[in-house]
């Protein structure tokens, strides 16, 4: 579903991402772990077509993000770490806007808006301007808008930040449902316990380079993910 091949991205002299390769297959929840500034957000933004890159390739469902970014974006849903949405719109207008951009039909959008806004208990607030929303409400709205076009691939940057426990729980369930439906999830997180319980596969990145990846069992072995992560962060052995 998502294939990253030898991705390299530099900012001036600094290599934010260095020859990174990953393959996220259908039905997989893939966790992306690394310390602050390791290159997670840069990788994620490159996968979503927000950020260009210097070398390598990214394919979404077999389509190159370089040559056909619009087709790739049509299959993706992206949820950023800080949901800066259009404050001048109401929640429902924002959802309508996103649905229009993705060309979601009238029946589907009504059904999905109703389903997800009820699920995240946001329905009664949809008439409010987004400027009146709390961080958590904005995050919920970003999640609902991401699911409105039934995406094949959901890419999330720190999705659990700002969500209340109930919403976090719901999101984890939705992530699993998307994978069971043939989709894939690629997300970054600092919450290693969540990654350990939720992910089928995990990748650890340090200084822009991939230092370990594979199934959860392969990566952690007999230790916990936290122990492995800290050990790799200290030692930095390349994969």
């Amino acid at each position: 579903m998502l294939r990253i091949e030898n991705l390299t991205k530099t900012y001036g002299d600094k290599r934010a991402v260095d020859d990174l390769s990953l393959h996220i297959q259908k039905g997989e929840i893939y966790g992306f772990i690394g310390h602050n500034g390791a290159g997670k957000t840069t990788t994620i933004k490159a996968c979503c077509g927000i950020l260009g890159f210097d070398a390598g390739e990214i394919y979404v469902d077999g389509i190159s993000i370089k040559t056909d970014p619009l087709s790739c974006k049509a299959k993706i849903a992206y949820i950023p770490d800080n949901p800066d949405l259009y404050d001048f719109m109401t929640g429902i207008k924002y959802l309508g806007f996103i649905a229009d951009i993705f060309g979601v039909g009238k029946n589907e959008r009504n059904e999905r808006i109703g389903k997800y806004s009820d699920m995240f208990e946001l329905t009664r607030d949809l008439a409010q301007p987004i400027s009146a929303y709390s961080h958590g409400m904005k995050q919920k709205l970003a999640i609902i808008s991401a699911l409105i076009h039934d995406p094949k691939l959901v890419i999330m940057d720190e999705p659990f930040v700002g969500l209340d426990p109930k919403a976090s729980h719901l999101l984890k369930g939705l992530m699993r449902d998307i994978c069971l439906g043939g989709g894939a999830i690629f997300f970054s997180t600092h919450v290693l316990e969540v990654a350990e319980k939720l992910c089928d596969k995990v990748a650890i990145i340090k200084g822009g380079r991939l230092i370990r990846s594979g199934t959860m069992e392969e990566v952690r072995g007999d230790s916990s993910l936290e122990e492995v992560f800290l050990e790799l962060e200290d030692g930095g052995s390349a994969f």
Binding site: G12, K73, D100, A132
Partner: protein, 531 residues
């Protein structure tokens, strides 16, 4: 601490005006902006100098030097208030970093004083462009003593504090009222209405200045007595600016006391006003079928929603449309008189048609809707970059909004001018076409300039719109084009008819617009993606 805060405040202002912001990391030339601002301030100063010249001689002759200063100070104070009231509201009470600064170990009063100082600089510039020319005019026609050369400069520095104090009160009122209105569009409309009324009053006053002057000179004694009796502070300010030391001392005391009182009141309530949640009635959503639409219409609706919900955007980019309608109505009422005034001159219809087009074009430039439109995306630009929508559509939606909000008013105004002036058939046809073509030129030019000069990390929308380098540059470029057309017409007027000239002008701006749009659709789309 004060130094650090002041540095932050000034760097915020400077960064927005002088530095483009993009991942490409290019920067624009600071000197260009400084030149542009000096030119604009110079133009305003020239206008006020002419006005001061007209007022000074008769009033000085009548021995009413103080009344001359009372009037010029009054004018400059009104200008200063208009220039700073919305900046006070958005810069002091609505700044995005209020919560951040209040969480730091800084006294709220200090945050307030730093913000006020930044706005004082702006108010000072507004007042100085009116007061300094007034002083120069007085040096020409009046008889200033040695003391005047000491007192007047101090007055120029001091009086913006009075305007700032009044702006603080008005800004405070806005901060109390506006958040209670639930609909952002209604807020913007109310603010726009207030501004239009204010501007209309100012223009009416300005247009009748000669009649007023005549009235003042004829009735100078009675007016003088009335002002002395009923408007003593104004009399005192006039006397102080004239160079009277006692009045000067009273004015200094008065201004300092008023400002101190306002400052104390505001600093005590700053936290409450700046971050307090107001009780607004929460609209509850009731489920109903959501309509579907195309991506194009969604983008246009999004642009329109942003426009009507952003007070500074609407306020600073709607004046052209309002004035075009006002001009059309004025032409319907007074057009006959204007035509009669010049009816004796042979072939004047053509010249007047070109002048009318130039006037309409000048008013069109007052709607710089596209010029700050990319800057205004701010932190939400990621949405347009991550959604499966062609960059061409995104850019085009901004041009479409500009056209929808400006072209109809420009067209109507041109048609009215055409009907009133009755020029030759070709000129008559070209007048409305030129106005529409020039609107497209302004829309595309504003967008391309903003694409080259975006600034996405602004802290309040007023600064993003009012002090945006792209707005300044695009408006100045439009003026340069208009002046070039004007020069070209007067060089060729003897052998080129108005109709042909307007045809060439329309074709020229249309071709330039098409070239700009072509650039936007190719390199512009890439630039947008890389911001």
């Amino acid at each position: 601490m004060f130094k650090a805060l002041m540095k932050k405040q000034l760097s915020e202002l400077m960064a927005l005006m002088f530095r483009a912001n993009s991942k490409r990391g290019n920067s624009t030339n600071t000197a260009v902006y400084i030149v542009i601002m000096v030119v604009l301030a110079g133009l305003m100063a020239v206008i006020f100098f002419m006005l001061s010249l007209a007022m000074c001689a008769p009033l000085v002759e009548a021995g009413l030097d103080w009344l001359y200063f009372a009037m010029t100070v009054g004018l400059s104070t009104v200008l200063g208030i208009f220039g700073s009231v919305f900046s006070t509201y958005s810069g002091v009470y609505e700044a995005k970093d209020n919560e951040l600064l209040l969480s730091l170990p800084i006294k709220p009063g200090m945050i307030l004083i730093v913000r006020l100082l930044a706005i004082y600089v702006m108010t000072f510039i507004f007042e100085a462009v009116a007061l300094v020319p007034a002083g120069i005019a007085y040096m020409i026609f009046g008889d200033p003593g040695v003391l005047w050369f000491v007192i007047f400069p101090v007055m120029v520095i001091l009086l913006p504090m009075l305007a700032l104090a009044i702006s603080c009160i008005l800004g405070w009122l806005l901060a109390l009222i506006i958040p209670r209105i639930n609909s952002k569009s209604v807020k913007s409309l109310i603010t726009l209405l207030i501004s239009v009324v204010f501007l209309a009053a100012y223009f009416v006053f300005y247009s009748r200045i000669n009649t007023l002057l005549q009235y003042v000179v004829t009735n100078s004694e009675s007016i003088g007595e009335t002002v002395k009796g009923g408007l003593y502070p104004l009399y005192c300010i006039g006397r102080a600016a004239e160079g009277d030391p006692l009045s000067f001392a009273i004015v200094v005391l008065f201004v300092v006391l008023v400002f101190a009182l306002i400052y104390v009141l505001l600093s005590r309530n700053f936290i409450k006003i700046a971050v307090g949640k107001r009780s607004v009635s929460r609209a509850r959503y009731v489920k109903k079928p959501v309509k579907a639409g195309s991506a194009d219409s969604a983008l246009l609706k999004k642009e329109f929603s942003h426009y009507i919900s952003s007070t500074p955007y609407m306020l600073n980019c709607s004046l052209g449309s309002v004035l075009l309608i006002v001009a059309a109505v004025a032409l319907v009422i007074k057009g006959g008189d204007i035509v009669n005034m010049f009816s004796e001159i042979e072939g004047i219809e053509g010249v007047m048609a070109v002048i009318a087009c130039a006037c309409v074009a000048f008013i069109i430039t007052m709607n710089p809707i596209t010029a700050p439109s990319i800057t205004l995306e701010g932190n939400t630009l990621w949405l347009l970059q991550s959604l499966p929508v062609d960059g061409k559509k995104v850019l085009m939606s901004k041009i479409r909004l500009h056209m929808i909000l400006t072209a109809p008013a420009a067209f109507i105004c041109s048609v009215v001018a055409m009907v009133v002036l009755r020029p030759e058939p070709l000129a008559a046809v070209m007048m409305p076409l030129f106005s529409v073509a020039f609107t497209l030129f302004c829309a595309s030019l504003g967008l391309i300039v903003n694409l080259f000069m975006p600034k996405l990390d602004w802290t309040n929308e007023t600064v993003a719109v009012k002090q945006s380098g792209s707005v300044l540059v695009s408006m100045l470029a439009e003026y340069v084009v208009l002046i070039a057309f004007g020069v070209l017409y007067f060089v060729t007027v003897a052998f080129v008819s108005a109709g042909i000239f307007l045809l060439i002008s329309t074709l020229s701006v249309s071709v330039i617009s098409v070239l700009i749009i072509r650039f936007l659709f190719t390199k512009g789309v890439k630039m947008l993606a890389e911001l």
